[in-house]
Symmetry: C2
Subunit: 290 residues, 2 copies
């Protein structure tokens, strides 16, 4: 890190505020710039490189698995614990890779523009309208369009498991297609919230998919895209620690592929006591804080 980099956003405020004033009339008060997380995920080279890096790793991993069929799927078996993972056996089931949709394979550029411009935060009605009408304002996560096409070329069935509503299955399939991510058929290669009685929890849908396929890779931007066990009630720091225990840590980039999303979701939680342990706090000695 350099002072130059650190100060760059501040230095840019003036000229970019000018840009913003010529943007379409916002619903609420105008905002100078999009939030930092959106700049990073939707606009930066760093964010794009991070996504492409994950897709490169996923393709290398899947190519090897297709050549040497694994005994087990990467979907946790019913009753498995993160501390002692057990997986659904593959048998001779056909290969599949299972992906979340939003901010995993598809960027919701249009919705996030609306979100940032209005500054209203998440609005369930607006999101439902987005699921229904957003197909013209989406794009692929960098590397996802090429990545999914390559998986299909390897004979791997691409299955989407998203918390978009089953009521909007057709428009979501159209958005996936419009983003260059190929075909999605509800109940076959597209699973949605409302397909079962588990709401936004995806373990049930994963079990249904793993009963039909040998799932050799999963991708998501949220821990719930890999196992609902991560979202059991627990402190923020315990949830982070759960991703780092040896048998789970070994899965990241080896069957479980996480995509960056600092814009929304279960990773954006925690107060100062959750994020900054008491023994890792600091203040400039001159100021005499701490």
């Amino acid at each position: 890190m350099s002072a130059t980099m650190r100060m760059a956003p501040a230095l840019l405020l003036a000229p970019l505020a000018a840009c913003a004033t010529v943007a379409p009339a916002p619903v609420a008060a105008p905002v100078a710039n999009p939030p930092a997380g959106m700049q990073y995920l939707y606009g930066s080279g760093e964010g794009a490189a991070l996504s492409v890096q994950a897709w490169n790793a996923l393709l290398a991993y899947v190519s090897a698995r297709v050549k040497a069929r694994p005994a087990d799927s990467v979907v946790l078996a019913e009753g498995a614990r993160l501390a002692a993972p057990r997986f659904v056996p593959c048998g001779d089931k056909p290969f599949a890779a299972v992906f979340d949709v939003d901010e995993t394979v598809m960027l919701n550029t249009g919705y996030e523009y609306h979100d940032a411009k209005t500054g209203r935060g998440f609005d369930a009605a607006a999101w439902d309208a987005w699921e229904k009408t957003g197909e013209g304002a989406v794009g692929p996560v960098p590397g996802a369009d090429h990545g999914l096409a390559a998986l299909r070329g390897l004979g791997v069935t691409v299955i989407f498991n998203t918390n978009r509503s089953a009521a909007n299955a057709d428009s979501t399939a159209r958005a996936i297609k419009a983003a260059g991510l190929g075909d999605a058929v509800h109940g076959q290669t597209l699973y949605l919230s409302g397909d079962d009685a588990m709401g936004s929890r995806k373990d049930g849908r994963r079990a249904t998919i793993a009963a039909r396929y040998c799932v050799i890779a999963m991708g998501g931007d949220q821990l719930g895209d890999f196992s609902d066990l991560f979202n059991a009630a627990q402190p923020v720091s315990a949830r982070r620690d759960a991703t780092l225990q040896p048998l789970v840590a070994g899965l990241w980039g080896n069957g479980w592929f996480v995509m960056p999303n600092p814009v929304y979701g279960s990773g954006l939680k925690g107060g100062f006591d959750d994020i900054f342990p008491m023994d890792k706090r600091w203040a400039p000695p001159a100021i005499g804080e701490k």
Copy 2:
């Protein structure tokens, strides 16, 4: 994504504001929660998984390269262009891996606590004090401590190339050691801003390192950790596109390893017109915006 996830941060504000009030007295007005980027990078399981995934990919890549010596280093040769990359030859030079320090191998937890708590934004004097006195409040990026130890075990020299000041070489080496990242010797395995006349630009230091070593991997959280060419004056969208052109896109996860950092740096730039293309904007039809 689910409405639940989307709304969680808002729902948490109340209880966490309570936590914040019992935190050490802030210098400025108290802030309810750390910024979203800090929650993600320093506190989330998603952010931790993303880092571990990168380190797993790096170790797999380096292990293969150590077994089959490559003809070229992953450091761009002088005069190379991103559109037509050429690399420094390896010859029979010993293997090395080159890493940025801040938010690549080491988390600046203490400084970011101060930054978030005061809400002052980057302060060069405070950062200099941090370089001098922060060793007690740092930690490893998830996976970096194990990763660097494993590299050394493979006979790969670990070299740090950071924009911390050469004037603070000793305290930076102490911080690296304190974070569990091993030894760093200025001029041998630690390169700093001020070592040459190029300021925060790292190409000169990379050339010096690549003259002595066969650099088989580089890691960083900023594009400038791989090549200064990314930071040539250009629009935000062109800089992002530069990471996605075929010959560069193939390097992410294959020699060039990017670590997540939505907290600060060259990725956090851009106004609405940079981040949200005119043809990817949307508003709820009911509201009739757009």
